[in-house]
C-alpha cells in the first residue's frame, strides 16, 4: 500500500506541478527585485488601483450572489409561467464573452450610442458618461458572471429534499423564511464555490475593464510590463494576485466546512406555485435578466452583424473558425485528461496533505490573467534555454516560441480549475461504499477505475470538457500574445475590431463565437438532463 502511494504521489505531483509551473515562475521573479520601480508603483499607482479593485470585487460579488441564488431558487422551487425554458435559457450568457457584452453595452449606451442619443433628444435627459464611476462595469460583470453562481446554486437546490422544505412550511415558515433559514444555508457551499470562480474571473479580466477605462490591479500588471518593460515587476504583482486567490480559496473551503451530503434527492415536485399576478411578476423578473444578459445583446449583435456582414465576411473566416476549433478541442481534451487523473478518487489522495496541496496549486491558474500566464511561460522557457546554453546545449527558444504547444500549455494551466472542479464534483458522488464493495469483490485498481470510477465520472468529465472549451474559445490575452503565425482566432478578430471602435464589424466574429458557445452550452444542458434522469 505504501509503495502504491509513493507511485501515486509522484504521478500526481509531476502532473500538478507541471500545470502550476507558470505560477512558480511568477513567484521566482521575487529573486530579482527592482526597488526604484517598486517605489513608484507602491506610492503612485497601487493605492488607488487596489481600492478600485476591492470596490469592483465587492460589487460584483454581492451582485452575482444575489442574482445567481435568487434565480436558481426561483427556477428550482417555484412553479411560474415560462419556468421550464427560462431554467435553461439562463445558462446562455455563458456563451457571451465578457468583452463582447461590454462592447455591446458601450456601443448602445455610450455618449454617441443610440440609447443615450434617444434619452437626450427625445426624453430631454442630461447626457452621462457610462465610463464614470464603477456601476456600469460592475453591472456588466454581474450580467456575464451570474451564471456561475446560478449553475452551482441550482444544482444544490435540486439536491435538497422536498420533505425538509415541507417540514418548514408546516412549522409555519413563510416562503421567505424557508428560503433564508433552510434552502439558502444548505446551498451556501455551492453558492460560495460559484462566487469564488466569479471573483477569480473578475480579478483576471482585462478586456472589460480596459474597454470601460476602469483601472484595476490587473492594469498595474499590464502597465509594469507594457510601459516600464519590467517582466519582473509584472510577475511580482501577478504573484500578489495569486496570493489573493489563495486566500479566497481558503475562505471558501472554510465556509464549506463539513457540509457534504450524499443525497440524490431531486426536487421533482415544486414546493411553491406562484399563481396569477405573483407568477407573472416572477416570470417578468427572470425574463428581464435573460433579456439584459443575453437576448438584447444578441439582438444588437445580429443587427450590427447584418449591416456589416457584406463588408466583413471573407474566406479568412473559414481559417478563423478552423483554428479556433482546433485550439479549443485540443485544449479541452488535454485539460480534461489531466483533470481526470488528478480527480480520480484514491485513498492516497484523501490522506495526503501534500497531494491536496499540489492539486490546489494546479488549479490556481484561474486567478492568473492570461497575459501573466504568458509572461510566466515565456520567462520560464527563456530560463530553461539559458541553462541549456550554459551547459553547452542548444537554446530551445526557436522550437517553443511561436509553437502551438506553448499556447495549449497556457490554456491548460489557466483553465485546469474549471475542468477539475466539475470532474471532482462527480468523483465526490462516488460513495466510499462502492469502492469498498469493488475491493471486496477482488477488483484491481485499474479495473476499479475503468469499470466504476470513469463511468460514474463521465457526466462530470463531459461537462468539464465543454466548460473548458467555451472558456478557451473566449480566451483573449494569452491567445493574442502566444498564437503562432497564421493562427488568428475569432476572439482575436473581435478584439482587434472592437479596440478600434468598429463595433458593427466586430459583431460578425462575435456572433459566430456566441453561436458556437451556445451550441456547446446546449449540449451541456442535454447532458445535464440525461444525467439527472440516470441518478
Amino acid at each position: 500500500m505504501e509503495k502504491n502511494c509513493l507511485k501515486s504521489k509522484i504521478w500526481t505531483s509531476v502532473l500538478a506541478l507541471l500545470v502550476a509551473m507558470p505560477i512558480f515562475v511568477v513567484a521566482l521573479s521575487w529573486l530579482f527585485p527592482e526597488r526604484e520601480l517598486w517605489v513608484h508603483f507602491s506610492t503612485v499607482l497601487l493605492p488607488s488601483l487596489i481600492s478600485a479593485t476591492v470596490v469592483l470585487l465587492i460589487g460584483v460579488g454581492l451582485g452575482v450572489t444575489l442574482l445567481g441564488t435568487i434565480l436558481a431558487y426561483l427556477v428550482v422551487m417555484v412553479e411560474f409561467p415560462g419556468r421550464r425554458w427560462l431554467e435553461w435559457a439562463l445558462f446562455l450568457p455563458f456563451a457571451i464573452p465578457a468583452y463582447v457584452l461590454a462592447f455591446v453595452y458601450l456601443g448602445v449606451f455610450d455618449y454617441s450610442g443610440y440609447a443615450q442619443v434617444w434619452m437626450r433628444e427625445v426624453l430631454g435627459l442630461p447626457g452621462f458618461d457610462i465610463r464614470t464611476g464603477s456601476w456600469a462595469v460592475i453591472l456588466t460583470f454581474v450580467l456575464v458572471f451570474y451564471p456561475y453562481v446560478y449553475m452551482m446554486a441550482r444544482a444544490s437546490f435540486k439536491r435538497q429534499k422536498i420533505n425538509i422544505i415541507e417540514a418548514g412550511q408546516l412549522l409555519g415558515a413563510s416562503p421567505l423564511r424557508v428560503f433564508f433559514k433552510i434552502s439558502l444555508p444548505m446551498a451556501r457551499p455551492a453558492a460560495a464555490a460559484g462566487l469564488l470562480v466569479t471573483l477569480m474571473e473578475t480579478l483576471a479580466d482585462f478586456g472589460v475593464v480596459s474597454l470601460f477605462n476602469f483601472d484595476t490591479f490587473t492594469t498595474a500588471i499590464y502597465s509594469a510590463w507594457g510601459d516600464f518593460r519590467s517582466i519582473e515587476i509584472a510577475a511580482q504583482l501577478a504573484s500578489l494576485l495569486v496570493l489573493v486567490a489563495f486566500l479566497l480559496i481558503y475562505f471558501e473551503k472554510k465556509a464549506r466546512g463539513q457540509a457534504k451530503y450524499y443525497s440524490n434527492d431531486v426536487a421533482n415536485k415544486k414546493p411553491y406555485r406562484a399563481l396569477g399576478a405573483a407568477g407573472w411578476l416572477i416570470s417578468l423578473f427572470v425574463f428581464g435578466v435573460f433579456m439584459l444578459s443575453f437576448a438584447m445583446p444578441m439582438l444588437q449583435l445580429i443587427i450590427w452583424g447584418w449591416t456589416s456582414v457584406g463588408e466583413e465576411w471573407s474566406v479568412k473566416y473559414v481559417d478563423l473558425i478552423i483554428s479556433t476549433s482546433v485550439l479549443t478541442t485540443s485544449a479541452a481534451l488535454i485539460t480534461v485528461g489531466i483533470a481526470t487523473i488528478l480527480a480520480l478518487p484514491s485513498r492516497c489522495k484523501r490522506s495526503s496533505p501534500w497531494i491536496k496541496g499540489v492539486i490546489s496549486m494546479a488549479t490556481l491558474g484561474y486567478a492568473l490573467p492570461g497575459s501573466i500566464m504568458t509572461v510566466g511561460l515565456l520567462y520560464g522557457v527563456n530560463q530553461v534555454s539559458a541553462i541549456s546554453v550554459y551547459f553547452g546545449g542548444q537554446s530551445i527558444n526557436h522550437i517553443i516560441f511561436g509553437s502551438i504547444a506553448l499556447l495549449l500549455f497556457a490554456y491548460v494551466s489557466r483553465f485546469m480549475a474549471i475542468g477539475y472542479s466539475s470532474i471532482k464534483a462527480s468523483a465526490e458522488q462516488i460513495k466510499p461504499m462502492f469502492t469498498q464493495n469493488a475491493h471486496l469483490l477482488g477488483a484491481s485498481r485499474l479495473r476499479l477505475i475503468l469499470k466504476i470510477y470513469l463511468p460514474m465520472m463521465t457526466p462530470g468529465i463531459l461537462a468539464g470538457g465543454l466548460l473548458v472549451a467555451v472558456d478557451v474559445m473566449k480566451e483573449l490575452p494569452a491567445t493574442y500574445l502566444l498564437r503562432p503565425f497564421g493562427w488568428d482566432t475569432l476572439a482575436v478578430q473581435v478584439y482587434e475590431l472592437s479596440a478600434e471602435g468598429l463595433f458593427e464589424r466586430a459583431a460578425v466574429p462575435a456572433l459566430i463565437m456566441v453561436l458556437l458557445g451556445a451550441v456547446l452550452m446546449l449540449i451541456l444542458q442535454l447532458l445535464d438532463k440525461k444525467s439527472s434522469k440516470n441518478f
Binding site: 415541507e166 412550511q169 412549522l171 415558515a173 451530503y261
Partner: protein
C-alpha cells in the same frame, strides 16, 4: 375538531380513494392503514396542504382549509404538525434550533423553556447542541416529534414515522410516542402499513381497501 369530506384521489386513470369521509374530535388518536399505493399517505399530504387532489374538503376547528380538492389556506398557515417518514430534520441546525424553528415568534427565553420542556418529554435532555447526523434513528424521530409539537398544533400528522426503525425500538417508541400524544391531547393521525402498530397506537383504526375506508 377535524372533518374531511368527500376526498377522492386518482393517479392518472386509477382511482385510489373514493369519497373518503373522516371526522375526529379534539384529542382523538386515529390510525390509517392500507397497502402501499392505497392513498393513505396522499390523504395525509392533502390534509397538510402539500398536495392537491381531485376533490375533497378539509375543515379544522371550524376553519375551511381546502375545498373541491384545491387549497384555500397555505400549509404554513394551517397550524398542522407533521412527522415525516425520514424525519426531515434540518441538517444544518442543531436540535435546539430544529425544535425552536416553528416558535421563532416567541422570545429567546420562552423558546428555550419550551425546547427544554419538550426535550424532557421525549427523554433527550441535554441534546440541545447536537446535530441531526450525530443522532440515532430513534433519537432523530423523537426530535422530529418534538419539533412538530413545539408550536402546539391543532392537528398532528405522522407519516410512517416508525417504519425505518428496527423492530425492538419500534415497539418501544410506538408506546412512548402514544403517551406523549395523549399527554398533549393533540388530535392525531398516524399513517402506517402495519396493522398491529395501528391498533397499539390509536383509539380508532381505519383501513383503506378497494378505495373505500372502513373504520373499526
Amino acid at each position: 375538531m377535524l372533518s374531511v369530506n368527500n376526498l377522492s384521489i386518482a393517479y392518472q386513470t386509477t382511482q385510489v380513494l373514493n369519497e373518503f369521509d373522516l371526522s375526529l374530535a379534539t384529542g382523538d388518536i386515529f390510525a390509517l392503514t392500507g397497502d402501499s399505493g392505497s392513498g393513505k399517505s396522499s390523504a395525509l399530504r392533502f390534509i397538510a396542504g402539500l398536495d392537491e387532489v381531485q376533490s375533497g374538503q378539509v375543515i379544522l376547528d371550524g376553519k375551511q382549509l381546502s375545498s373541491s380538492g384545491i387549497h384555500k389556506i397555505a400549509p404554513e398557515l394551517r397550524e398542522i404538525g407533521m412527522v415525516f417518514q425520514d424525519y426531515a430534520l434540518f441538517p444544518h441546525m442543531n436540535v435546539q434550533k430544529n425544535i425552536a424553528f416553528g416558535i421563532h415568534h416567541l422570545s429567546n427565553s420562552e423558546q428555550k423553556v419550551r425546547v427544554e420542556e419538550l426535550l424532557l418529554m421525549i427523554g433527550l435532555e441535554g441534546f440541545e447542541k447536537k446535530y441531526p447526523h450525530q443522532l440515532s434513528g430513534g433519537e432523530q424521530q423523537r426530535v422530529a416529534l418534538a419539533r412538530a409539537l413545539a408550536p402546539s398544533p391543532k392537528l398532528l400528522l405522522l407519516d410512517e414515522p416508525f417504519s425505518s426503525l428496527d423492530k425492538n425500538l419500534q415497539k418501544q417508541l410506538v408506546l412512548q410516542v402514544r403517551d406523549i400524544v395523549k399527554k398533549t391531547n393533540v388530535t392525531s393521525i398516524l399513517v402506517t402499513h402495519d396493522k398491529h402498530e395501528a391498533t397499539i397506537f390509536a383509539d380508532k383504526v381505519g383501513v383503506i381497501e378497494n378505495s373505500q375506508l372502513t373504520i373499526s
